[in-house]
């Protein structure tokens, strides 16, 4: 079976891409543990803590990312540079356990996967 990288690169709530990406990710996680999750570019906004999407009539799917641990998906990475450029420091981030990596290392991790899809 292929290993698969799911890449989140759009900001949450403004489009449904992240939410539908997470749905696809969880459906795949039910069949395989060989999955990597990457937050790159505006996708790192998924990692900001205490979001209140209900105020704009959007669903709070961000909390659902916590299911990743239950599915034994441990390879979760964020782009350090994207976080820095958007002013998202460690104290602003939620409790999702992940590794923030510089670009070179991020590319190295990505290259370990057979397939990638973007959301």
């Amino acid at each position: 079976m292929n290993s698969i990288a799911f890449i989140f690169k759009t900001a949450p709530h403004g489009s449904s891409s992240g939410r539908e990406g997470l749905d696809a990710l969880l459906a795949t996680a039910a069949l395989s543990e060989n999955i990597g999750v990457f937050f790159i570019g505006d996708g790192v906004f998924h990692l900001v803590d205490a979001q209140q999407p209900n105020v704009i009539y959007a669903r709070d799917y961000i909390t659902t990312f916590k299911l990743l641990e239950l599915y034994d998906i441990e390879n979760v990475y964020a782009c350090q540079q994207s976080l820095m450029m958007r002013g998202i420091g460690e104290q602003a981030m939620g409790c999702l356990s992940l590794m923030a990596l510089p670009l070179g290392n991020l590319q190295q991790q990505l290259s370990r996967y057979d397939k990638m899809i973007n959301f």
Binding site: I4, S17, E20, A27, T28, S32, K115, N118
Partner: protein
């Protein structure tokens, strides 16, 4: 090689779905096989049989249907993404109204996951 295609763009408005269709035809011509065409996100709109392009314009829905019939390829639409966007089949009809083209079939994300895990190549549009 065994390909899986993931389409995420609508029939009209962006080029994604047209590119996917052209790529699918090119794959078959080159002797590859397509194990799955999965329509997700805005691409569920490709199954809307009421889409009515001007008469001198390309009708992508008809082309998908033709490709599916001639090559015996399933056109899988994510049901939850479709219902949220008003692409509705007879089973989910409201006041007798539905717009789902019968050549497509409602499918789940498990189908997408299986194709991602088992294909030799996946190409996302």
């Amino acid at each position: 090689m065994r390909y899986a295609l993931l389409v995420t763009g609508p029939a009209y408005g962006t080029q994604n779905a047209t590119s996917a269709w052209m790529f699918a035809k090119a794959l078959l011509k080159a002797g590859h096989s397509i194990i799955s065409i999965f329509f997700y996100q805005e691409a569920v709109n490709n199954a809307n049989r009421l889409i009515s392009p001007a008469s001198d314009e390309h009708n992508l829905i008809n082309e998908w249907v033709k490709l599916s019939r001639e090559e015996n390829i399933a056109l899988n639409i994510c049901v939850s993404a479709a219902l949220r966007r008003g692409v509705v089949d007879q089973d989910h009809a409201q006041d007798g109204l539905y717009n789902f083209h019968p050549q497509f079939n409602f499918s789940g994300l498990g189908e997408l996951a299986t194709s991602l895990l088992t294909c030799e190549r996946v190409v996302q549009f």
